[in-house]
């Protein structure tokens, strides 16, 4: 848990504060993204936690290893920093040290023995989907994305309960950023760290955050809430502008296909009789149907007009399905996929390619209308 209590920071010689009377609490095991325009003090707010910058007023409490809340202002800054994971935008790997030594920075400061450091480094590199022999390499021998992963690994070296991340994926191309974000979210499911994550990108804030803290210029807190709530009920005009005119679309990011799909779709068996299949489709008033085998694995689809007046088995008239969507895909990606292949509806499959449901544009539309209705109902 990280708790800000009326925290204010005024830089010497400045009349207006960089962070203004900030209060919010990040629950244990959650990611809180701090987002706002440049000059909103988001990085300053983060650096107050590990006292790279000292607050002028107020208190910041973090949950330490003994599960006790302690005020960071009363702790020794060096010890405090060693107990908090810190990952910055340019990563700042030490170019003259190997990956092993880089990851081992804090453990070495805490006098871990060599074998333990190596063991932990191997564990982390494996966790980051990188081969163990990378440990002997130098940072310049790695690609940008790999360095970024090492930066994250270094921040997690001593398994700190609290981590600070300052635009950790900022300096990386969009494709790799997306991959790294997804990897990190998957990792977070296991490690359950309490994370303060600074970004200037509202999309990243929505994607990564369990909570979003939106700051305005001068370090004013405009809204602190879950991404869904911020998109549905922006607190004021500033937040509304900041999240963008497409906030309804952004909300699609937050909903997974499995939440809105039809989980009992009309399906045909590959070994079904054609005549029976035509009867089934006529009864369901559908022009085509997906076909599965006995293990529910997706085989393809058939059209009514191809089957009418024919005999034999369904599998003889199969057309391959151009696409299918994973259960955990978000609605935005699903919609985009559907627009690309121009299907009225698309199969939703699990990891083993077994059909679990169907989704069409109407279902997506309905989910948007539904949340709009809720949002408007609340506002009135």
């Amino acid at each position: 848990m990280i708790k800000f209590e009326n925290v204010t920071k005024i830089y010497p010689g400045m009349s207006s504060p960089a962070v203004d009377n900030l209060s919010f609490t990040v629950p244990t095991g959650e990611i809180c993204t701090i987002v706002g325009p440049s000059g909103c003090g988001k990085t300053t707010a983060m650096k107050l936690v590990n006292r790279l910058i000292d607050a002028t007023d107020g208190a910041i409490h973090v949950l330490d290893e003994r599960d006790e809340m302690s005020n960071v202002l009363e702790m020794d800054p060096i010890q405090l920093r060693r107990s908090i994971g810190y990952i910055i935008q340019q990563i700042g790997l030490f170019p003259h040290r190997t990956i092993l030594e880089n990851i081992g920075t804090v453990p070495q400061l805490l006098d871990w023995d060599e074998a333990r450091i190596r063991h932990r480094a191997e564990e982390l590199v494996t966790m980051m989907n990188m081969p163990v022999d990378f440990l002997e390499r130098y940072p310049h021998e790695l690609s940008g994305g790999q360095r970024q992963r090492i930066g994250v690994a270094r921040g997690m070296a001593t398994d700190p309960p609290v981590m600070l991340m300052d635009e950790p994926f900022g300096a990386i191309d969009p494709i790799n950023r997306n991959i790294l974000q997804n990897e990190f979210l998957r990792l977070q499911q296991e490690i359950k760290k309490t994370i303060l994550f600074v970004t200037h990108d509202i999309d990243e804030a929505i994607k990564m955050g369990d909570k979003i803290c939106i700051l305005n210029v001068g370090g004013l807190l405009e809204q602190y809430d879950s991404p869904a709530n911020i998109l549905a009920y922006p607190a004021n005009e500033f937040v509304e502008d900041f999240v963008g005119a497409d906030r309804a679309l952004k909300r699609l990011n937050l909903v997974r296909v499995e939440e809105v799909m039809n989980s009992r779709p009309p399906l045909l068996q590959a070994t079904q009789d054609v005549e029976q299949a035509v009867g089934f489709m006529t009864e369901k008033k559908i022009r085509f149907a997906y076909v599965v085998d006995s293990a529910q694995t997706l085989k393809g689809y058939v059209r009514v007009k191809d089957l009418k007046g024919k005999t034999g088995w369904v599998e003889e008239y199969l057309e391959p399905a151009a696409t299918s969507i994973q259960l955990t895909t978000n609605l935005k990606d699903a919609l985009s996929e559907m627009l690309v292949v121009d299907y009225a509806n698309v199969c939703v499959v699990d990891g083993q390619n077994r059909v679990r449901g169907l989704i069409d544009t109407k279902m997506i539309h309905e989910s948007v209308i539904e949340s709009n209705a809720v949002a408007e109902g609340e506002e009135v």
Binding site: L52, I88, I91, L93, H96, R147, L164
Partner: protein, 263 residues
């Protein structure tokens, strides 16, 4: 276009580095040997004015060897002392709270550098007397600037992100200096030491004016005697030494390059 530059670069590298060190130096060495052997050894009469000027009857390879040793000793002592003072000074002016003094310290070092070396010798001869000590002092003053400047620049050029990461992970400022800043700035620092050493090889030749010995002895003996061969021996040997010192330190410097991570 790109190939052209490569070609010219390669050509330049060959002429300056390789030809200097592997062709010119042996040729110069042969000239010096011939001069020493034929013109000095054979023509200087014991008890003559020339012999008196050189302070010894034995003018030959041994005398030349002694002068080289003296010369090297001057450089070694003065450069080491300069490193011992300039590196801490360079570090100091990059520290919080001492940055304001960077102008002052660099200014002092700048004065040392810009006053002609012969003038420094003359001034300090009055204070410290003649001999080895005064020469070392002048050379020391002369070598300060490049080392102070390069130390400060080297440290200041360390990627601020690296420093921030180190601070944020809980390194003390002492640990950051010793484990991060110094290792990363050492190549730049070393370049300053190399410059200082090479400058000192040339400047040390002036040490002979105040009786500090070295290769300058031959030059200042040769001038009043109008003995070109003597002057040449001193001048050529000094030049060779400068080239060799630069070459050897350059080779070491090449190995010091720190791999830089461009994010």
């Amino acid at each position: 276009m790109k190939e052209d530059t490569n070609f010219w670069q390669r050509l330049r590298r060959i002429t300056i580095k390789d030809m200097m060190s592997w062709t010119v130096i042996p040729v110069l060495m042969i000239i010096v040997s011939v001069l020493v052997y034929n013109r000095l050894l054979l023509t200087i009469e014991p008890g003559s004015m020339e012999a008196n000027m050189l302070g010894s009857y034995e003018i030959g390879f041994k005398r030349v060897g002694d002068a080289i040793t003296e010369h090297l000793r001057l450089i070694l002592v003065s450069t080491s002392l300069a490193i011992a003072v300039a590196v801490p000074a360079g570090i100091l002016i990059t520290r919080q709270g001492f940055r304001d003094f960077s102008g002052l310290i660099l200014g002092v070092a700048n004065v040392g550098q810009s006053v002609p070396s012969i003038a420094i010798l003359a001034v300090f001869m009055g204070i410290l007397g003649i001999g080895f000590k005064t020469a070392v002092f002048a050379l020391w003053l002369y070598a300060l600037l490049p080392i102070v400047r390069n130390t400060a620049i080297g440290i200041e050029e360390v990627d601020p992100n690296v420093i921030e990461a180190a601070t944020g992970m809980g390194m003390t400022s002492r640990q950051i200096l010793l484990q991060i800043e110094l290792p990363l700035s050492f190549p730049v620092m070393f370049a300053g030491m190399r410059t200082a050493a090479v400058i000192n090889v040339g400047t040390a030749a002036l040490g002979a004016f105040i009786g500090a010995g070295g290769l300058g002895t031959f030059i200042i003996a040769g001038i009043p005697l109008m003995r070109d061969s003597l002057i040449l021996v001193g001048a050529i040997l000094t030049a060779i030494m400068a080239i060799l010192v630069d070459f050897i330190l350059g080779k070491i410097q090449d190995r010091l390059v720190v791999p830089t991570a461009s994010a």
